[in-house]
Symmetry: C2
Subunit: 347 residues, 2 copies
């Protein structure tokens, strides 16, 4: 049987180039001989925006659509006004390809530093809704720039959108040993959206009697993430709360240098996209200082999504071993870390 | 000269009763003989809601309006559906009395445990907008309970509302030794509200050339709060982001047992309200287990607001001394802590 992966690669801005190169290095090293890997690189981000004014065109989407998956480095540069690339590229892609499951695992691996005292045991995954909530770009501004300006943002939540992501989270919780699922929202203040989320959550819970559930307000959740992170197994939450808690989760479980994410379209109608949680870090770009681990772990998520479970597990193990080995050693360059991981997954 | 404080006292639900009693004990002990303290207790919260169906009536607001300030314990009980008391009492009061400066100091005092490793130095204050943003209750639901339900939440932001709170925060930063102010928002995604906040912030900054400013996205802010909390001096942010970052800030700087807050109407047109950040904690209510420190520190904020700076400082010092003294000692009851603080402020 001959197998193949047709990958769209978007290095993007800043350190994106460097970390994606290492991600691909590890991907090539881990794949069995019989799997044909094809990659096509796309130039998106600040350079393209400055050259053409474009962020992501319909033709781009058509081209990307044909791939099995997308690997993204990072998008964003201080030379571009805030929001242009985020809304024009990253969010446009997530929405166009209906990436409604934004998957962000947090695991504190042995040997990895955490800002938390003690030795917390952290191993949970956040299922962040990716196509609704305050991220839809609904809203507007009147009397802009005047003392009477009014600016609104509309969070849009649908039973359809909430139910599919809640269902995905329950299925993930059901498949894990601890079988726990926490819903994070702010249903005591955002009562319209909050009650929709809570009602749907409680209804779907009846289909998963083995899953232990809890509800927590987003403010309280930030407290638990630093005082009792071991409490969490699977978390499901809306787009904005998910953005916030996953950065905090990354911070407590080893930093955004090791935080991976998948923007998943579970039906497979569109390619899913995998990217490190960190940004383009223009301050250290081009210096070989970026840690490619988050990208390599995103490659593992990508492989798992495409059905290459054994290869994904080999990457996870290689990363664990590499991180455990770092203590007391001098810092390595981006490509040195990539090389080391490539050797480990191949061996 | 004869002075007086006419205080509305709202013990509320759960531990609210217990902690407010200690707050008043310390308040009486710290006030000079010549200050006449009058208190009137109001019964709001779950009990009243169950008995009458009322949360806060126009007549209640009229009565409260006559006081110099309000001391609140906590509102909330599991027997009341989520949102009823929050929207019907707490937020109604904040909005009716135009409490647009929600002030939440975070200071890690010597001897106080933090979940963070190392010995971070934490001393900042969050100025949270209190009358706009996603808290306005704008939004709604259609096709409720059906597979086609759509629920919206509208964040409303006005130049008027943003500018007054930003200006307040700049003035506070200007008055502090480090003179630093950080704006927290998510202007790369919530571009309508985000740009209003950023534009107003940058414009007001020109009037405060001595204040060093920075902007940070709310997700990144949660990272800094656990990895570099010493970075912050004054933070200004919107109502929802402020809710989230102040709980996290409380968690890293000693827990919500010591987190105080003021809901301030700076013009004095309406009485300001002071309350601990923690909730009603029904699980430990009535057992004398609650730490009244957050309420006592809220009393200090109240005194400072009314111009009793020396008395406020005495409470702050008493709390510092009490906390520094706790290590290795057996836990005390709510009233024992209140007694100890009352002795310290009197002495
Ligand atoms: C860059 C930004 C649009 C994005 C988000 O808010 O989703 C990022 O913070 C993330 O978490 O992937
Ligand atoms: C109880 C709730 C309405 C409130 C808020 O969200 O403002 C609380 O969390 C707070 O921070 O004072």
């Amino acid at each position: 049987m001959s197998r193949s992966i047709d990958l769209a690669v978007i290095p993007g801005d800043g350190i994106g180039q460097e970390v994606v190169a290492e991600g691909l290095k590890v991907l090539s090293a881990v794949l069995p001989q019989d799997v044909k890997l094809e990659t096509k690189e796309y130039d998106f981000g600040a350079r393209r925006y400055h050259a053409t004014g474009e962020t992501l065109t319909d033709a781009d989407l058509d081209a990307l659509k044909g791939h099995d998956a997308i690997l993204l480095g990072a998008i964003g540069d201080p030379s571009v006004p805030s929001g242009v690339l985020e809304r024009g590229f990253l969010l446009r892609l997530r929405f166009a390809f209906d990436h409604h499951v934004n998957l962000r695992p947090s695991k504190l691996l042995p040997g990895v530093a955490t800002p938390l005292a003690g030795e917390p045991s952290i191993d949970f995954v956040v299922v962040r809704e990716g196509t609704e909530g305050p991220y839809t770009g609904n809203g507007g501004t009147i009397r802009k720039g005047t003392p009477h300006e009014v600016a609104t943002e509309v969070s849009v939540n649908t039973a359809f959108g909430v139910e599919r992501v809640v269902r995905d989270a329950f299925a993930r919780a059901q498949a894990r040993p601890r079988k726990k699922l926490a819903l994070i929202h702010k249903n005591n203040v955002l009562t319209f959206a909050g009650h929709l989320w809570t009602d749907v959550f409680n209804r779907v819970a009846e289909e998963f009697p083995e899953v232990t559930t809890e509800y927590m307000h987003v403010d309280a959740a930030t407290i638990y993430l630093v005082t009792q992170p071991e409490r969490f197994d699977v978390i499901v939450t809306d787009n904005l709360f998910g953005d916030i808690v996953t950065d905090l989760a990354a911070a407590v479980s080893g930093g955004i240098g090791v935080a991976a994410s998948g923007n998943i379209n579970p039906s497979g109608e569109f390619p899913s996209m995998f990217e490190p949680v960190h940004g383009s870090a223009p301050d250290i770009a081009g210096q070989g200082k970026a840690d490619p681990t988050a990208t390599v772990l995103s490659v593992a998520l990508l492989l798992r999504h495409l059905g290459y479970e054994a290869e994904a597990a080999r990457i996870d193990e290689a990363v664990s071993a590499d991180l455990a080995d770092r203590t007391g050693k001098p810092a390595r360059s981006t490509s040195q870390i990539g090389d080391a991981l490539a050797v480990r997954v191949a061996g």
